[in-house]
Structure formats: structure tokens, C-alpha cells
Amino acid sequence: MSIFFVQLLTGIAYGMLYFMIAAGLTIILGVMNVVNLAHGTLFMLGAYIAFSFISNELNFWLALLLSVFCTAICGVILEKLLIKYVYGKELEQVLLTFGISFILADTVEWIWGTEMKTLPVPGLLDGSISFGDTAFPIYRLFVVLFGCLLALLLWYLETRTRIGAIIRAGVDDREMVGALGIHVGFVFTGVFAFGAALAGLSGVLGGPLIGMYTGMDSEILVTSLIVVVIGGLGSWKGSLIGAVFIGIIETLGKVWFPSLSMLIVFLLMMVVLIIRPNGLLGREVA
């Protein structure tokens, strides 16, 4: 019984990681209607930047903060220079962000090389807790906790703050918000930066869990796209459900149905889309 419980917990931990990165993706999608295929590469960037800081004897938490800051800046630059020119044009967005991800990923490889790397678990969270006869790493519990905190933060931002109200209004009626004197451009840049920051954050937190290697950006991008689709575009709550769901299914599936494990997640997405063409909690996309 404890094996199953540990597996479940692991699945939730991975799910939370997927949630963190999918949240950024879905928020950008929901608020700005922008498909950002470079999201996975921002994730990767965050991890590698943190790696550099940590390699220079910096504390994990400080490195985390700095990485998030850097990815956010990256997001601002990208939005102001490139992304804002393709609002409303879906195909162009797909291609533009695809191209950006190529450039960024290759830059990462250029600067940091091709060898695989890991981020060390911060001293505070090193070690395991025993559940009966099995040990479970504390860091994973932390990831679960952090995911919950993030969800709380998003809920609070969305429902209790002015920014949240502006964003919700902006999604429903962009022109009106502009007419009310609120600089929609700033809001959008801010949202994109926020999404990018989330990607970088998940990259750093994911570092000790899944490591860093060439190709990680496309892997995580596909997973987060699936989470976003299943959860429903624009709905971070949907992403939470979808991510945890996928994390669990993926982890358990690999043990119970190993031959199906490749297909399982894609099959799941197809099933969900057939039953609910807009995802679990999504609404009609423009």
C-alpha cells in the first residue's frame, strides 16, 4: 500500500511542476490570445541561468530569485520587440515563437555546452522522510507545497486585486479597458513577463527533479501544451486539474501500462477534446 501512496505523491509532485509551467502558458494564452511556443525554452533558460549562479557559489534561493528576474526581463524584451506585432494572428504567433525557441535553445547550447547537468537540491530540503518502509524525498513534498502556494497566489491575484480585475476586464473587452484610460500595452507586457517568469521559476524548481539537457525544452513544451489543452485555454484552474491529473496518470501509467505509456497522455488529450472540445474548464476561444 505504501508503494502506491508514494507513487501517487510523486505523480502529484510532477503534476505540480507541470502546473507551474502550464500556468504561465495558459495565462498568456487566455489574456493575450498568444500561443507561446517558446515557453519551454524559457523554462530551460531559467534552469541554466540558475545553474550558472549556483556554480559560482551562490545560494539556491538567491539563484532562484535572480533567474526568475532574468527570465522575466527576457519576456519583456521578447514582447516589446517581437510578440506585440503578431497579436491576433495565430499562425504568425506559432511560427514566430517557434523560431524564437530555436534561437534561444541553440544559444543555451552554445553558452552552456551539450553535457547534461543537474541542479543540487538546496541544503534545507535535502533528505527524505520515511513512510513506513519507504523513503520519500523532502524536496518533492516542497514542490507540491509550492504548487499549492502558487495556486493560492493566482486565485488571490485574480479575484482580490485591481490588477486581476483589469486583466479579467481586458480579456472580456479590450477596447473598453483602453477607453477607461488603462494602458493596455503595459498590462500585456506585464502579463507576458509574468508568464515568462513562471516558466523560469518552474525551470529552476524542476532542475533538481528532472535535470537539464538538450531537448528538454521541446519535451516540457509538449507536456505543458497538453495540460493547457486538457484544462482549457486561459483557465489556470483547469491547468491545475489537468496538470495534476497528467502527472499522476503519467507516473502510474509507466508502471502499470508500460507499453501504453507513450500513447497514454496523447490518448487522454484526444479523449478529453472529443468529449469537451474546449477542454475541461475552457471557454470558446476567439
Partner: protein, 405 residues
């Protein structure tokens, strides 16, 4: 609109004509493609390696080793100046075939070196036979290359999955315990390494209690580790590469198995590609390696020094694969006196040379390198993992034909 149509129709006709003309004027110089005798003073060597994706560091290592050898020999192999052309196959057999054609038909290389992935080498093997061009397999470890897919034109300088899996089995059975649980990813290489281990382990009196095959790219090994631990084996033997390997070793520690159940591994677990990122977690692993920068022989000492000087880091098994590929070509071309495939093949079969790994002989029955393996235990010293050799297994080879068919 009418003009547009006429324009397009005209375009079509031009294309059709063009097709016809180019086809017609093509002389039949395209048939056969016999490799011309290599009497000129330069040889072109084509590399098909995976430079994108997870195999990238392996390709870097191989190229570095090869280039080092060239530098030490005035840029020559067999007395002829060498020109290198490297192509990236993206670990994709389709791309590899395209690059192959580019290298062989367009660039007209004399000899090929590579690839990393076994699926690529199987795709290339048929082409290489058709075009009668020599391929030095510097990494791909698929067993069938020595058995059902053996070719007179392909010679391996790395090792086979069989050798990798079987080398440590006897030592582990005799010194650690007779009951083992084995793990490897669910793909051809994983299966091949494990079946080799099983054969050798059983032959030494051991018994494999359970075989576990997590999917490739598994994030979480917990369920497998727990299942293995629950069986209370004397040891766990595992084969994982790349990021899988790093995660496995790290999680072996995280889930409390390090120090409780001895972990035996294939050569990857003693190689710095995995031991460097995992650090302390890799301590205590007993691996059957075929190379370490600390190997105590003259050639290796020189090699390590030169490599460090040129590249500012220690060499690994892949660097040696590259270096040895150059060594074997140098020797073969010198003895054959040319780069003509037919002549090279005669020399390559059964050729022997000394490598930083120890002495190597190409088995004429399998075109596979007979080499030493070393049983080594990972020690953590000065924040680095160093594999300490405790026993040498000489002349590790593989059966002449597959024992599984």
C-alpha cells in the same frame, strides 16, 4: 487573371522540359559507384554524428579524440593528409541517410566514421555495403551489427551492448551476491545489455530474481526501486544512459537505497558523463568500465595529459572511441598502402593495436573489438567521483553468432 494562368501553365511546361533535359544528359556515371583507388595524397573522412539532442556530448568527445590523434600525427593518417567533414544526423535515421548521400555522393569521402545511435548504424549499413565504403563504427553498440547485420565494410571501435552487460557479471556473482534484480530502459540497447548480463550472471552461478524495464525518459524510478528493494536482492544491476542515468543514480540515493543495497552498473555508471552531475550519489557503484582517465598504462597517461592540455578537461570513453578510430585507420591505411576499401578490409579484419583502454583486437568473426574491461568502484574524493579499479577482465569479447536465435 488570364495572364496568371498562362504564366503558370508556361512554368509547368518549362519544368517538364527541364526534367526531361536534365534526365537525358545524365550520363551513366551514376551506376556502380566503385570507390576509386585512394592513390592521392589527401583522404577525406566523413563523420556522421548526432550533434543535436542528448547525444551531442558523445559526438563532441569522439571528435575531440579523433582530432587529437591527428594533431599528434601531423594531420595525417597512413601518411596522407586528412580532411574532415562532419555531418549531424540528429539521431534520426532518415536524416542520417540524407547526410550519408551527401558525404559519399557529393563530397566523395573515402571513409566514414560514426554514428552514435544503433538505429542509425543499421540504416547506414545497407548503404555502405552497396557503395562499398568503409565505416568505422565509433559508438553504436547494437549487438546485431556483429551478428545478423554484420558487414565486411563496418568495423566497430567502441564496444557492443553484449560486452557492456556481461563484463561485470562474474565479479558481482563471486564477490557481492548471487541474487540480483536488473533494470534497464525499455528499448533495444537496454534489452541487449540485460540479456548479456543475465547469461553471464547465470553462468557464474547467479540468479536474476526480477527484470524491470522502465520506459525511456522515465522521470520517476521510485516504483521500480521499491519493487526491487522489496525482493531483498544481494545487488541491483542497472543500465541507464544520459539524463535517465543521472536521474536513476540520484534517486537511488534519494529513496534510501544507496549503502543499503549494492548497485552494480554498466560502464556508463563509471563514466564522468553521469558521475560528474550526480556527484556523491554515484559513490559506491561497482561498474564494469572499459575506460577511465586513471587507467595505469603508458599510452593512457600520455593521452590524458595531451587531451587535458588541448581541451582543458579529462577524456572519457567517447574521447577514446574517437582516438582509437583514428589509430585503427592510421594503422590500416599504412599497412594497406591505400584507402581502397577492398584493401582496407583485408587489414581491418583481425587488426590489433594499443589503445588508452589497453590492447585491442578486432575479432574477424564479428568485426567487434576484443578489449579489456575493468571492474571499478566509484570513490568520492575531493568533490569528484573517481572509479577505482579493483580487477581487470582481459579480452572481453562476444559470441560469434547470436545465442538468442
Amino acid at each position: 487573371m488570364k495572364k496568371l494562368r498562362r504564366f503558370k501553365a508556361a512554368g509547368l511546361i518549362i519544368i517538364a522540359l527541364f526534367l526531361f533535359i536534365t534526365g537525358c544528359s545524365q550520363t551513366s556515371s551514376s551506376s556502380g559507384n566503385e570507390k576509386k583507388g585512394g592513390e592521392s595524397d589527401t583522404i577525406k573522412i566523413g563523420f556522421i554524428l548526432s550533434q543535436t539532442g542528448t547525444f551531442a556530448p558523445l559526438s563532441d568527445g569522439i571528435l575531440n579524440g579523433f582530432k587529437l590523434y591527428l594533431e599528434e600525427h601531423d594531420g595525417k593518417l597512413g601518411g596522407k593528409k586528412v580532411q574532415i567533414k562532419v555531418e549531424d544526423d540528429e539521431a534520426n535515421p532518415q536524416v542520417a541517410l540524407r547526410k550519408y548521400r551527401q558525404l559519399v555522393h557529393s563530397e566523395k569521402v573515402d571513409i566514414l566514421v560514426g554514428p552514435i545511435s544503433s538505429s542509425v548504424v543499421y540504416a547506414l549499413r545497407d548503404e555502405v555495403e552497396k557503395d562499398k565504403i568503409v565505416l568505422i563504427d565509433a559508438n553504436a553498440a547494437g549487438d546485431d551489427l556483429a551478428w545478423s547485420k554484420k558487414s565486411d565494410y563496418v568495423y566497430r571501435t567502441s564496444f557492443s551492448n553484449w560486452q557492456n552487460g556481461s563484463s561485470a557479471a562474474k565479479y558481482l556473482a563471486n564477490n557481492i551476491g548471487k541474487k540480483a534484480v536488473v533494470m534497464a530502459p525499455d528499448y533495444p540497447a537496454g534489452k541487449e545489455v540485460i540479456r548479456a548480463f543475465k547469461e553471464a550472471f547465470k553462468a557464474a552461478g547467479g540468479e536474476v530474481a526480477k527484470e524491470l524495464y522502465p520506459k525511456l525518459d522515465t522521470n520517476d524510478f521510485a516504483p521500480y526501486l521499491q519493487e526491487a528493494a522489496a525482493l531483498e536482492p544481494d545487488l541491483i544491476y542497472a543500465f541507464f544512459t544520459g539524463s535517465d542515468g543521472i536521474r536513476f543514480v540520484t534517486q537511488y540515493k534519494e529513496f534510501g537505497l544507496q549503502g543499503k543495497i549494492p548497485l552494480g552498473g554498466a560502464l556508463e555508471f563509471g563514466d564522468e558523463l553521469i558521475t560528474q552531475p550526480t556527484g556523491e550519489a554515484a559513490e559506491g557503484i561497482i561498474a564494469g568500465i572499459n575506460y577511465s582517465p586513471n587507467l595505469d598504462n603508458e599510452i593512457n597517461k600520455k593521452f590524458v595529459k595531451a587531451y587535458q592540455q588541448k581541451y582543458n578537461k579529462l577524456p572519457n570513453i567517447f574521447s577514446v572511441e574517437g582516438y582509437d578510430s583514428a589509430t585503427i585507420l592510421d594503422k590500416a591505411i599504412t599497412e594497406a598502402g591505400s584507402t581502397e576499401s577492398a584493401k582496407l578490409i583485408k587489414i581491418l579484419k583481425g587488426i590489433s593495436f594499443d589503445s588508452p583502454r589497453g590492447p585491442i583486437t578486432i575479432d574477424p568473426e564479428t568485426n567487434n573489438p576484443i578489449q579489456n574491461f575493468y571492474i571499478a568502484v566509484n570513490k568520492y574524493q575531493n568533490n569528484v567521483i573517481v572509479p577505482e579499479v579493483i580487477e581487470t577482465v582481459e579480452k572481453v569479447t562476444m559470441p560469434k553468432t547470436s545465442p538468442f536465435e
